[in-house]
Amino acid sequence: MTGPSRIGGSAGESLPFAFAGRRLQGKAGDSIASALLANGIVTIGRSFKYRRPRGILSAGEDEPNAIVDVTLDGVRVPNVRATTQALQAGMEISPVLGRGAAFLTRVLSPFIASGFYYKTFLWPHWHLFEPAIRRMAGLGRVDPASRMTAAAGGSLSVDLCVVGGGRSGLCAAITGARRGQKVLLVDRQDSLGGSSLWRGEGCADLVAEVQALGAMVWTGATAFGAYENGRLGVHRQGEGLASGGSLWVVQTGEVVLATGAMERPLLFERNDLPGVMLADAALHYLRRHGVLCGSRPVIATNNDSAYPVALALAGAGAQVMVVDSRPASARSKAVNGVRVITGACIARALGRGRVSAVELDSGQRIACDLLAVSGGWTPTLHLCCQAGGKAVWDEDRVILVPAFPVPWISLTGRVAGDWAAPDDLPWEWAVAPEIPSSGATRKIWVDLQNDVTLGDVELAARENFTSVEHLKRYTTLGMATDQGKSANLLGAAAMAQATGRRATDLGLTTYRPPYAPVPMAALAGLSRGALQSPLRRLAAEPAHRAMGAHFRDYGGLLRPAFYGTDESSIAAECIAARQGAVVFDASSLGKVAVMGPRAGELLDFLFAGRMSNLAPGRVRYGLTLNEAGIVTDDGVVLCLGPEHFLVSCSSSHVGGFVASAEEWRQTRFGRDQVFIHDRTAQWATMSLSGPTSKAVLAGLGMVATLDDQAFPHMSFVMGQFMGKPARVARVSFTGERGYEISVPSGLAVPLWQALIAAGAAPLGIEALGWLRAEKGFLYVGQDTDGETMPHDLGFDAPRLKRKQGFVGDRALQLPVAGDAERKQLVGLARADGGLIPTGAHLVEGSPRRSIGFVTSSHLSPTLGRGIALALVEGGRARIGAEATWFDLGQTGRATVTPACAYDPEGGRLHV
């Protein structure tokens, strides 16, 4: 009994690695699996549920058992598939599952069939059992400190994408390239040639032709998903373990699948023993890695594809025995030097911890150190089925086929059921799965990774979980990391047999992307850190930083919160605004031009208030609504001239306003009647405010006159700054006299510096929030919610005067708009001057009922007490009354006040 060993390929660099603490040597070109086999390691780990020893079954993505955690250069990657991961020097490899409580699970195994957990753990409570079950479950361990990177991927458009670089795929690529198509050939392996690399002599001639024709070739790339409109998701492997590789979206006109077929295992007792391997995998390890997986192999098959394997293993010096379930044939007689038993099946595998013999259904026992199995082939239809092809069993051709043609996907080669005979003999490779009809079905594994046995399938049938989807969900068959590549068809066939259905009734569960697991790092791609939802920034950011601004993210916009090291500077900024002059960078405020013969008409439609009669040079405040009558934004409109307006909406609503305006423009008013141009980014705006603001502005000499008669509140004038046009509007966000100065955005920094030099102090957005709250100026979205209508904010005219002709007009006449308990915006004040936190509720009755909530609140430095804005049911009628507030268990009393707590007469505007 020698087991696997390396017999060839002595060339190549030696790569040291460790497995489960053992120091070993592999060779360049090895996969982890081939390196382990070359070192004679057969048992890779333990199974998920019963903790049974398991070995390497396959040589590809269908591997259910050989899942390992790998650490290299301090980065640990869990759940690495040993069969597809290239070995690298220094890898520390450990099985994901150890023995655990193997003895206990062996004792328990008769009682923990599929779905047992649905039937127990009810008393005293599931919470008592769950932690232990959680600890038992799961595969690899995530390392908190490890990170995987990704390379830049992208989009690519081709006429033809061929998936699979074997002989058929290469031919398809050549045909396409000769037709003049832009061709991309994608193959998961490092070299082109597909299975000819181990079943034949390679395809060097075809590879050379593909390259000569200029087709694009991606090796080490997996097309993992077929998406809408002819797009494929393709993952290209990275260099090394810690690289997640790159993600590509390939827009194709046409896809040819040349993805081949995957070999199915055979079902017999203890078919999960280490040393049981797919026949094709045994050939793969021999031809690709010089590893002979056993010196005395038994090859069990129900089709002809295992015969070349038998010959190759025998040619490498192994003593081969073939067990063929079919009667003798020309092929079974034509294998020289290999013993063949026909008409016999494997009844069970024997051995302690690994296979050492097989027992045939005749009772005959044959010693062996490898049991290579071939149970037939399942075409790799994944991408076709993801695109709606739906796999069904074709009884005539005894193979899985797509039920519906997908117009943009065609199949070629083995995936289409075509596999040319390697010689002149009859070549039978497409066969139906064979399901044992007797025996200890609880010892026959269908899904190796999830430990689902034939007995579990029978149990599911007995309990009426007979749909393949129920079978999958009840037994977990096909839900492991291999996604049932070797198990799904066998499971469905077993269910068909258990329920007396024909193989043609046999459907499969939905094929879902990805075809093979894809690193999350690759899927996230470069959308990480600062490149994820990139923040928008202000043109004057360097000037703010120079003044010690503390920046925060406000809805995706990075803005100065306050100037100083901590929030204590906010109060000082507020006082400066009330006593002197402050400047606030308001550049993100919208500046949306609306022009054309129907410009005024469009604005009248967009605002709940007339704008078309605004005179040039004047400014007007307004609210916008949606068609449900809900306030979506507020802003001011400037009339720049005849048929030319500028809408200044709030920073976070610019995109929404423009989108909505464009929709109505194009679908209601006409593209040639009105034009919308978002100039927000072209203009920087500094908002100067405070009792001495006029003097500060005068120092800049930007405009001809600052006389209040010629330049009243809610008007604007044009001037100049550094030789460029400047627009100065008299509006106020603070309640003080205010000027909003807009200049081309390239002048943002000089304007800011000029205003500071002229005596204005910087004002951050936090202080602005306090100042406007003192005035009862609302922030739409903070002081309103998804129910707020204009009259809830004191704008009664649109509803009461039944105004019409604007977005949301009719909704203001709905019953809900007249409800007495509508929430209205009011202020709150505590007798002790204390703060009521934002988010506190107002409550009444017993049991307590919420009648509203605090939307903004601050300790006002101006007034020396807490102020609050709140949306309160029937709020305006409650002004002067007391109310109870509730915050995280605390309660207190407050008086309902008007929203405006500071200078209600508005005299400060003119100081």
Binding site: S155, S157, E228, N229, G230, R231, Q251, T252, G253, E254, G388, P405, P407, W408, E627, A628, A659, E662, E663, Q666, T667, R668, F669, G670, Q804, G805, D809, R810, A811, L814, P815
Partner: protein, 91 residues
């Protein structure tokens, strides 16, 4: 059913030509007409909220939001997501 012969591909903007689907945003149901101010509450609710929403071929507003910004009318299958025809939206 959708004509199975229709080839897949990117969305074709009548202003910009074939562009990646990610550049477009769904814009609503063009069959919905805005009723007059004198309509009933139920009519307004229908205008606001009730959509054709067919399973299969649908006529929909789309916007080339990451491109030319134009509003378009697309004929699209809501099951396969194949787009059959795109024209510009007009009032």
């Amino acid at each position: 059913m959708t004509n199975p012969m229709i080839k897949p591909g990117p969305m074709i903007c009548p202003f910009c030509g074939p562009r990646d689907a990610s550049e477009f945003r769904y814009g609503g149901d063009p069959s919905v007409a805005r009723p007059g101010f004198g309509c009933s509450d139920a009519d307004w609710a229908g205008y606001l909220y009730v959509r054709e929403n067919p399973r299969g071929l649908a006529r929909e507003y789309w916007v080339h939001s990451q491109g030319c910004g134009q509003w378009l009318v697309a004929e699209r299958d809501t099951v396969t997501h194949l787009v059959l025809r795109v024209t510009e939206a007009t009032p």
